[in-house]
Amino acid sequence: MVKILVDNKHIEAEDGANLLQTCLDNDIYIPNLCYLNDGQIPFAGCRLCYVQINGKPVASCTQKVAEGLEVQTDTPEVRSLQKAAFRLLLSVHDIKCKECPANKRCELQRIGKFLKVGLKVKGLEVRLKDPGLDSGHPYLLIDQNRCVLCGKCVRVCQKKHGHSYLTFAKRGFETVISAYRQPEESPLNFSECTACIDICPVRALLLKDV
């Protein structure tokens, strides 16, 4: 065990443990969307979990705990980066909270509240995908305008089945999560496994009524 200091709070943790997980375990919330406590190399895609170490912002999911580490979670630099990333995510998010199944248990709402950033983003063009709903899969609906591309669904499926039935598709701004479209090649039985749906932080994956 080693001792670290997070915002003047002394914490004991295992040497080499993940910093983000350590903070979360000790009731220090750091905004995050893509982090999975699975022992793998972190995804590090959402760019929300910034903290400050030695004066520099660092994504806490990529940082290992070491003796004497001093961490600040609430500095102007950290907040500025977190808000910037959050606003970018909102600029492509279809904000209809009242109609959304994730309402009140949505990670975006939680982060917005924490960062004190309204969900209606100002100063950035809002661009939604059209069509936003991918209904090509026999059982699964993917709302691309809700999805934050955290990739948790892809990784949880990979872990459970040894191969992921979901994948990232396309590039750049067009990147989406896609389920392979051929129904016969998709042996997913959603009565047995709904891991991808359950893990989605914004309810972008839904079961079809079939």
Partner: protein, 648 residues
């Protein structure tokens, strides 16, 4: 290494080397003219295959015995397709002919090879000192270069390993095998060699991390996933002298103790893939790679992996994932690939140019290498100098020479008496440097300090007619499309940058856009996961810094100072210069926007004009009556005469 083994290596390599020399002498002793033709991808695109066929045909027709020697590319793009004709029998030095079309090939066969007239009006120069023809070395495009990596490019047949060996190829490999891996590692460390892939990380340090690892399995990879727009040196090297890269790759494997090597090359480079494939099998056949190489006991297998054309896969972590069969998305480091890379094995990934520099270093030693270039950036750099420059192409220069020498002295400056505006260095990750930076030395650190980077070595020279906002838009369009989509800043942030830049170029810029560009750029730079995202805003940041007034003109006046952004420009005809009865502009306008005025001069209907500029090109130089202006409302209005009566 035991004395016995050293002796075996000497004997085995000695035999190969002697065979190579024998073949070379035999080739050179043949008393026939030799025609060297550059047949790399760029040469082929310029028509070198037709040139070759034309030579073959006319030689056969005239019954002339000559040797056609297919070689790679010498990097002189402006001269493609080129040939060098050695006609010593008639008493001439080897002569370089640029732009040899099929017709010219026929002509040279008849007039030079048959009748003995080298047609001096068609030459660039002689390749050797002589008393009758000026040499190409009087031309700074040749004389100012320092070729280490590209020394043999365009001189040898890339498909024949013996031609490389005859030029002391694989000598370094045999030399290194006689010593220990530690000796080789220390040599590379002492040489101060820095990675030529972009970041300039010390190669020896990278190798050392992997060398020290106690894993029984290690891998080396040659990164030939060249993806920057306008950079093509890696392809050229692989197509023109693949063995120097293989030799470097083998040396890196020996230094770290790897038994497997890969060449990660884009499948969009089919000729490069074919050339390396052939090179690998020839090297295997010769016993220079494979099992128990030259009796040293060292094994090395080299394989090719073809990438599928994702720019981001040049980033080493994405490259590894793509080789493992996953989508090429970068992951955070540490762990560094040199510790845990492909399949979890310590993996050293080096760029083509870095590897190709290793054999000359091993052969000539550390002090030789260190005297080239600067103290912190020893050696040479290869740039693909393109854009508004007289002699574009690949240029290998010692580090430390100035941008001015590279652009003006070596590459001949800006054509058509236009003014230099900026050099975009380092591709989409680099920056635009204006005139006041022309005298900075080219090395890793100075360029980064100025806001650009050597990066892949792409250099686009821009003249006064280039709009810097549009250049930024072009590069952002590229990085945005090539973002892997993993991290928020790169995926969405670059799209917002692009979207603002697009608005600016069509005259829809708004107050506050520039501040927004700056803020977004800073966030993306700071917040992105990998090098692609972190460097993506560089073209915007540098052009905003050095050409801010151009951005402001787009927003505040709807004016493009370079008169390049189409929606912000208009073409008009100066009636004082226009000649009565000349219909050049009318004939070439694709949308019938040019009309005849009542006194038989011409006017442009601005509502119909699509601003293609064809009329300006076709207006006879005696009149030069067509002008381009920005903003468009400044174009003088010429009334179209009332609808002409239908004539039957």
């Amino acid at each position: 290494m035991s004395q016995g083994k050293i002796k075996t290596i000497d004997e085995k390599f000695g035999a190969i080397f002697a065979e190579a020399q024998r073949r070379k002498n035999e080739r050179e002793a043949k008393p026939v003219p030799k025609i060297h033709i550059g047949l790399a991808t760029c040469g082929i695109a310029a028509g070198a295959m037709e040139t070759k066929a034309s030579f073959e045909e006319s030689l056969a027709q005239r019954g002339i015995d000559a040797q056609i020697h297919p070689v790679g590319c010498i990097g002189h793009c402006y001269a493609e397709p080129w040939v060098i004709i050695e006609n010593t029998e008639m008493g001439f030095p080897p002569i370089f002919y640029p732009k040899v079309t099929a017709g010219k090939a026929k002509m040279l066969t008849k007039l030079y090879l048959e009748e003995g007239d080298p047609r001096l009006e068609h030459i660039l120069g002689a390749m050797e000192e002589n008393e009758m023809i000026p040499t190409v070395w009087e031309f700074s495009r040749f004389s100012e270069e320092k070729r280490i990596v590209m020394n043999l490019c365009g001189k040898i047949d890339p498909d024949d390993i013996y031609e490389y060996i005859a030029e002391e190829g694989y000598v370094s490999w045999a030399k290194a095998l006689k010593g220990t891996p530690e000796e080789l590692l220390n040599l590379v460390k002492d040489s101060g060699l820095r990675g030529r892939g972009g970041a300039g990380f010390p190669t020896g340090t990278k190798w050392e991390i992997a060398a020290k690892h106690d894993s029984s399995k290690k891998i080396v990879i040659c990164n030939a996933d060249e993806g920057d727009p306008g950079a093509y040196m890696d392809r050229t090297i692989l197509e023109s002298n693949p063995h120097q890269v293989l030799e470097g790759l083998a040396l890196s494997a020996y230094a770290i103790g790897a038994d497997t090597a890969f060449i990660y090359v884009r499948s969009e480079y089919p000729l490069a893939v074919k050339t390396i494939q052939k090179a690998i099998s020839q090297a295997e056949e010769a016993g220079l790679i494979g099992k128990d190489i030259l009796g040293s006991g060292f094994d090395l297998e080299i394989k090719i992996f073809q990438g599928s054309g994702a720019f981001v896969c040049g980033e080493e972590t994405a490259l590894i994932l793509s080789m493992e069969g996953f989508r090429g998305m970068p992951y955070p480091r540490p762990p560094y690939p040199a510790e845990t890379g492909l399949q979890g094995v310590p993996t050293v990934i080096n760029n083509v140019k870095t590897l190709a520099l290793v054999p000359p270093i091993v052969k000539n030693g550390v002090s030789w290498f260190r005297q080239i270039g600067t103290e912190n950036s020893p050696g040479t750099a290869i740039f693909s100098v393109v854009g508004n420059v007289t002699h574009p192409g690949l240029v290998e220069i010692p580090m430390g020479i100035s941008l001015r020498s590279l652009i003006f002295k070596i590459c001949g400056g800006i054509p058509d008496k236009k003014k230099f505006k900026a050099a975009q260095i380092g591709g989409p990750s680099g920056g635009c440097l204006p005139e006041e930076f022309l005298d900075i030395p080219i090395d890793f650190d100075s360029l980064i300090e100025a806001g650009a980077m050597i990066g892949s070595g792409g250099m686009v020279v821009l003249d006064e007619d280039t709009c810097m906002v549009d250049v930024s838009r072009y590069f952002l369009d590229f990085t945005q499309k090539e973002s892997c989509g993993k991290c928020t800043f790169c995926r969405i942030g670059t799209w917002h940058l692009l979207s603002i830049l697009q608005r600016l170029t069509i005259g829809e810029g708004k107050e506050g856009d520039l501040e927004k560009l700056e803020q977004l750029s800073r966030d993306i730079k700071e917040g992105s996961l990998c090098g692609l995202g972190k460097t993506a805003p560089n073209p915007v940041l540098t052009s905003l810094k050095y050409f801010r007034e151009e951005y402001e003109a787009h927003i505040k006046e709807g004016r493009c100072p370079a008169a390049s952004c189409r929606p912000l420009t208009a073409f008009y005809i100066d009636l004082d210069k226009c000649a009565r009865g000349c219909d050049a502009c009318v004939g070439c306008c694709p949308v019938d926007a040019v009309f005849t005025t009542s006194n038989r001069k011409k006017g442009i209907d601005q509502d119909l004009c699509i601003k293609c500029g064809e009329c300006k090109v076709h207006c006879p130089p005696d009149y030069n009556a067509i002008f381009k202006i920005s903003p468009p409302h400044l174009a003088p209005v010429i009334e179209r005469p009332k609808e002409e009566k239908e004539t039957s």
